[in-house]
């Protein structure tokens, strides 16, 4: 079934009672928050003479890397000077980044920083310029929030996974394995909690939940190790739902299943989609991934920041158009997909 | 042709020139005694021969061929083995492995345990030593470790053995066995260089005597042609002789009450020992190594508990739980194992000297300055004739062994203890300095300190003790007083006269 969910009104999702376990295939899909934006290239020359500071989340992970490359490309197109600073997922480092941007007199900021509660201090330390917050709120100084609707993205995954199980298996499953990264804090909670909410809206309260912490940012190796043990504790289980905070942990889970010859037993709901990770898309039960399009973030960030720097007023939110992508729809979004 | 010949060897440590051109020969089948004051450069010289240090100039000829080692492996390949002054063994490894260290017997590339044990047993048997082969050497006493070091040098082919004060930690019996061994090696054609501060040993085993003074050879003659006085003169440039520093007992000593007393005490390795430490007197505790002497000394310092009997301080029974307890009660202790128990390596001489006195030196403010330590150091540098740069910041490791010993003795002099327990106080100290240390001990007693000298060297006892207890296998077998404290009486009581020393 094609379960792309972009629009649709309806009631608030996830508020349904988490009771028995009965399937509610009729449950409404999650509602995309208002403010979904369009990706567009920066106008050449629009950024001439402007300097942009970009605080990165953590460049040792793929997602921010994709964002970075996209931003770099767009800054080049616009002709703006870009200075980057990797906070390595550490608020204290992000604070240092902000100070350095102030020292260097940047005229606009993109802040991708994990600790929303640290934002006041980071804002205070940085220069008084327009700030685009990426994926994580940076109050009080954020001019505009740009990026993922983390909870909504999670709900999309959970809802679609739930829908699959409701239709195929009457919401029967052996375990619900959630591969998380506690270290990411709020984002982890929004994304993974969102998945549960979405799932529960269809199949009721999650049963046999197994939360596995896969290390800072979500790493393959711990996921593999923990999944191996978890599968052992689920002997004979044929329907194991596996949802993960990123693709790396899903790759780890698949590696664990592969060794035990149980790839068939895993039903995968994935955050983010990178067309190169074929292991996931060729797995027998890849139910789908929610796309974040990090490789296009620059198209939201750079043009809009330049506008703001030039004094234009921006909306409070510019959201990425999330899509729940499946085998059937993947080519639409990623023509280069070749798994 | 001599096995080994050096000419013009020079060596400096920084600005300090230690060796000024040494011409030296060691013949196969002959024993050369290498003598000299503490810091004269003896160890430095043999370390150069063994490839441990690199000489700055000069040359070494082995069997007539010029060789410049600069590496231990090279010297070993030429058959040269050094038994160094400071014990250098692999503490966590067993006795057997330490004996074959660096020359493991192997079969098919695999270390043969059986062969290791056989060779170790054989080497130790040559020294007639009975040391359990499977014990880690870190659990041996110092003398046993020294024997293991010697046994190592015997294992394998050696053509030249360099002994650097091998008997400093050995008992008389063990030393006697070593001498027999050396005689045997000499017969077998090994060239032997023997460093010692005990001149009697020279006459017992050496063919030639060679004296280093101020980094130059000041005497090099066959032993038959020299006297002790010649050697001493060549070493220190003046006459010094062994003597007794003790006056006939004075009034003072008789009236004084003992401050610290062991009463019918039994503990590790000793039983039923009574021993008083009386202000103004020096009590000698003489016993061969292993006789329990050092355990008694350690008990006095709170390092060991008592199984029976008691320790009285000012007449009242006390329990000293730790050395800190003992120090608080005014007791000081110079341990026998310099490297393991006393030296703070890497720290300056001043710090090493001041360590137990820090609290006092710091005064009420609790602030400890370098200047205070330096002053403390200067107080003793000259009094004990420490031969060093006279720089309080000099690291203690760069002092010669004997001079380190003086600094460590000064540590307790500075501390001003009421009771001073000195174990092997002159281990590794040269003839001249020995007299200085004896004098210092007597001066200390004269100032009212109660001194206990626990030693396996009768010379220490004879030189300074008002009264001496002799221990054999954990028991006090004799008590000698005043004029009875003589070499003969001591050795006789300790189990047979030894002509060695």
């Amino acid at each position: 079934a094609t379960l792309a969910a972009c629009g649709g009104g309806g009631e608030e999702p996830g508020t349904t009672t988490a009771g028995g376990g009965g399937a509610r295939t009729s449950a409404p899909p999650p509602v995309a928050p208002a403010g979904v934006a369009k990706f567009e290239d920066a106008a050449p020359g629009s950024g001439d003479g402007l300097t942009i500071g970009f605080t990165q989340l953590n460049l040792s992970v793929g997602f921010p890397q994709d964002v970075q490359r996209s931003v770099e490309e767009q800054a080049r197109k616009a002709g703006a000077k870009l200075i980057t600073c990797d906070s390595k997922a550490d608020a204290a480092v992000a604070l240092d980044c902000a100070k350095q941007f102030k020292t260097q007199g940047v005229k606009g900021l993109i802040t991708f920083q994990a600790d929303a509660n640290a934002a006041p201090r980071i804002c205070e330390a940085g220069p008084p310029v327009p700030v685009l917050a990426v994926d994580i709120e940076q109050k009080p100084c954020q001019t505009t929030f740009v990026g993922a609707a983390n909870e909504y993205a999670g709900q999309l995954v959970g809802y679609n996974v739930g829908l699959y199980f409701a239709q195929q298996n009457d919401c029967e499953y052996d375990a619900f394995v959630s591969l998380e990264s506690k270290a990411v804090g709020q984002v982890n909670e929004l994304r993974m909690g969102g998945i549960r909410k979405g799932f529960e809206s269809v199949c009721g309260a999650v049963r046999n939940l197994r939360t596995l912490d896969t290390g800072p940012g979500g790493l393959s190796e711990p996921a593999q190790r923990l999944m191996t043990d978890t599968l052992t504790a689920l002997p004979g289980a044929k329907h194991v739902i596996v949802v993960g905070i990123n693709e790396d942990v899903i790759i780890g889970a698949l590696a664990a299943a592969r060794v035990q010859n149980r790839t068939d037993d895993l039903y995968l709901g994935v955050q983010n989609l990178n067309p190169k990770n074929c292991v996931i898309y060729t797995a027998p039960h890849w139910l789908g991934s929610v796309a974040y399009f990090p490789e296009k973030y620059g198209q939201l960030l750079v043009p809009n920041l330049i506008k703001a720097m030039k004094g234009e007023k921006l909306p409070a939110e510019l959201l990425v158009p999330h899509e729940f992508v499946t085998k059937e729809t993947v080519k639409q979004h990623y023509p280069a997909y070749a798994c | 042709m001599p096995f080994l010949k050096t000419s013009g060897i020079t060596k400096s440590f920084g600005p300090v020139k230690v060796l000024h051109g040494i011409d030296f020969t060691a013949e196969a089948g002959s024993v050369v005694a290498l003598l000299g004051e503490n810091g004269a450069g003896k160890s430095t010289f043999v370390k150069i021969l063994a490839g441990d240090h690199d000489a700055d100039g000069g040359e070494i000829l082995i069997g007539g061929r010029r060789s410049r080692f600069g590496s231990v492996a090279g010297a070993r390949a030429a058959g040269i083995r050094l038994i160094s002054q400071e014990i250098a063994d692999a503490g966590t490894m067993t006795v057997a492995e330490n004996v074959v260290l660096g020359a493991w017997p192997r079969r098919l590339g695999v270390v043969s345990r059986k062969e290791t044990h056989r060779r170790a047993a054989e080497s130790l048997a040559r020294l007639r030593a009975e040391i359990p082969l499977n014990r880690p050497v870190s659990r041996l006493r110092l003398g046993e470790r020294q024997i293991v070091e010697i046994a190592r040098a015997l294992a394998g082919e050696s053509r030249c053995l360099l002994f650097d004060e091998p008997t400093a930690a050995l008992s008389d019996v063990e030393a006697g066995r070593l001498f027999e061994l050396i005689a045997g090696l000499r017969e077998a054609g090994v060239a032997i260089v023997y460093i010692t501060h005990r001149l009697d040993e020279v006459f017992r085993i050496a063919d030639r005597a060679c004296v280093l003074r101020d980094g130059r050879i000041s005497l090099d003659r066959p032993v038959a042609e020299v006297t002790t006085a010649d050697l001493v003169e060549a070493m220190v440039g003046r006459a010094v002789a062994a003597r007794r520093f003790v006056e006939p007992a004075g009034e003072h000593a008789q009236r004084a009450e003992a401050v610290l007393t062991l009463h019918e005490a039994s503990g590790d390795n000793f039983a039923g020992v009574s021993l008083p430490a009386v202000p103004g007197t020096v009590v000698g505790l003489y016993g061969k190594i292993g006789s329990g002497v050092s355990e008694v000394a350690e008990t006095l310092f709170g390092m060991r508990g008592l199984a029976a009997g008691e320790l009285r301080l000012d007449g009242r029974a006390v329990r000293l739980r730790t050395p800190a307890d003992a120090i608080r009660h005014g007791i000081g202790f110079l341990p026998p194992d310099r490297q393991g128990q006393a030296v703070l390596p890497g720290r300056s001489v001043a710090e090493n000297l001041a360590a137990p006195s820090w609290r006092r030196l710091a005064g009420r403010g609790g602030l400890m300055t370098r200047a205070r330590e330096s002053r403390a150091y200067r107080r003793w540098h000259d009094a004990l004739s420490v031969r060093s740069r006279d720089d309080p910041d000099q690291r203690i490791g760069t002092l010669s062994g004997g001079n380190q010993q003086k600094v460590l003795l000064a540590r307790w002099l500075e501390c001003g203890s009421r009771v001073l327990v000195l174990a092997e106080p002159t281990r590794g100290v040269d003839v001249g300095a020995r007299q200085e240390i004896y004098q210092a001990i007597r001066r200390l007693a004269a100032d009212g300190t109660a001194v206990v000298v626990a030693s396996s060297d009768y010379e220490d006892i004879v030189a300074v003790a008002d009264q001496a207890a002799v221990m054999v296998r954990g028991r006090v077998v004799a008590v000698l007083d005043g004029a009875d404290v003589t070499i003969d009486r001591l050795t006789e009581s300790a189990g047979g006269a030894l002509s060695v020393r």
């Binding site: 040792s60 793929g62 596995l212 292991v279 | 441990d52 492996a73 966590t92 490894m93 493991w104």
Partner: protein, 345 residues
Amino acid sequence: MSDSPVSDSAVTPGPHAVAAGGPPATPEPSAGRLPALAKIPNSAALVVFLILEIVFFAANSPYFLNWDNATNILTAISITGVLAAGATLLLVSGQFDLSVGSGVGFVGLLLVELQPHLGTAQAVLVAVAGGVAIGLLNGFLVNVLGINALITTLGTLAIFRGLTLAVGEGQNIAVNGFDWAIARPFLDLPVPALVFVAVAVVFALIMSFTVYGREMYAIGANSNAARLVGIRVKRNLFLAFVISGLCMALAGLLNTSLIGSSSGTTGTGLELAAVTAVILGGTSLQGGTGGVFGTIIGLLIVGVLSNGLTLMNVDSSWQQVATGSLLILAVAFDRLRASLLSGLR
């Protein structure tokens, strides 16, 4: 003079007289009297601890005690284990290698980046060469330039992690046709477990029975003494760093094949896991003691705990708390044994 305690001089200080006599002391125990207890190897306490752990989990999870799970545990510790074997060799000689974690990442990256272009065999060769190169670099810096091993390997840790990230751009890169490590050729044990067992045996043999191994212990016990008996200290240590590099290469290949991909963060933290197992297994930081057997026990103690807690579905934060406590407990247990025995030795 006889043994009589009678002093014949006027100096006798009365009651404080040095007294001789008393019952003859017989303090020295003969060698034969050492009880069998004292012959127990040092790691015995840890083995007991491990057994207790196993009993606990067997009682608390129905899935724990079966062959499948045993293979899981073995596989889970195998990659850390290969590194820990190398770390044991280094640590008995008093050295460290903290670069192993990023080494594993670097080797993995080389493999996944090159395999599509060079083919599997050549890519493996280059990847192994990469691991060895790290070892050579560490060995060179520590032994030729004389830089402290901790700083050196902290430095190369950062360098190779940085290179891995810079080249791989933080992406997870999959590798195809490189799944030899998931085979179970023997006893239903997957290849990594078998490789780990083989590596452990080889290291145990090297360390106990070869001259090189004994020399490494001697260097750790007292490097000066080792030098003075003609052991080529630097050469030996250099070799050990290269061996550690080989271990990285092996662990990197195993890991890549097992996961089927490699990323910029691959191998993060493995150095600490390896060193923890080695130290827990009784190899001292000062060098000169310990061995591979202890390291295996150390690995198992940690591996069994993590496996058992996961089977019991314990939250990962509490797993951390439990692991920390257990680490301390295991060593405390060992100390207890030591102090119980100290009276007997």
